[in-house]
Symmetry: none
Subunit: 148 residues, 2 copies
DNA sequence: ATAACAAGTGGGAAAAAGTGGGAAAAATTT
DNA sequence: AAATTTTTCCCACTTTTTCCCACTTGTTAT
């Protein structure tokens, strides 16, 4: 399972190390796409296949209006990049994705169950603060779920 | 069952011994995550799986399409850490979790039924005092109401 | 009381992770 | 076709993490 938060450098060749703990799960080929909420999503090829099937299946319970679905899929597919992980666990971030979320020298890499998210540090902190504020009851859920 | 309160040192490599009595129950891989009230929760991998399944709504396909589900999962998984217990029963506390609850050189480790909590000593004492006061207060209320 | 053991703590050395940069290979331009 | 840029591959340095061993303290057993 992909969990935890890491801050890594983006070098001047646009390379970022994937957290070592993620590498086994992610494998050698991953898919990077613009995500939602000003971050990037990283999926394993396998997970991506599942996601894309779901998204392109217009009979699924995700019943978009046709036009909406088209543009949403354009967003997810059109800008997705298949990326190779190099021999020491780094990936090359396409410039346009970097720009999309305003990345510069560092990236926050977050494991979220079965996907990885990439954030610009400031955006991430804002997001975290917002979550934290409305999170007391979420934490309570956590605590009580432990006992069930 | 996990019970009792222990005060352990955090050494300069961020290692803490788990109380010997907890080790068998916790196993070799645990998950540490910020909990309620300025403490950390420690779950066994098994328990964690149960909790996360229960809360992440991962049975609903493509949970990332729903905004509040996204934040919740981010909150839940992004701030957790999977940690190995070393050969003599210690774990490595990630810096960001240490900071989260203001840990420095010592930690109070408390067994709470089926999970373990980690506290900063001062916070723990305040928490305890508050509980005691409340208990006395409640007892008095009960007594004066003549119900006892 | 002494020995044997277990628990908690600390530290050195080896391994791994993260970062940076040069040179070969490939692609693009002129 | 040569020159320039971009990409890829490989090596090297630094820091962090991991692994292993040892010391200390307190408990149990003989």
């Amino acid at each position: 399972m992909l969990i935890g938060e890491y801050i890594h450098t983006i070098d001047n060749k646009n390379r970022v190390s994937l957290p070592a703990k993620f590498r086994k799960i992610l494998g050698k080929k991953i898919v990077v796409t613009p995500g939602l909420d000003k971050c990037l999503f990283i999926f394993t090829s396998k997970e991506w296949l599942k996601v894309s099937k779901k998204l392109s299946d217009s009979n699924s319970e995700l019943s978009f209006l046709k036009a909406d679905q088209r543009s949403f899929n354009r967003y997810m597919f059109g800008r997705a990049a298949e990326v190779e992980v190099d021999s020491i666990g780094r990936i090359l971030l396409p410039e346009f994705l970097k720009e999309k979320i305003g990345l510069k020298n560092t990236a926050v890499i977050v494991g979220v169950e079965d996907r990885v998210e990439v954030w610009e540090e400031k955006t991430w902190n804002e997001q975290k603060d917002a979550m934290e504020k409305q999170a007391e009851h979420l934490a309570e859920k956590l605590a009580s779920a432990g006992t069930i």
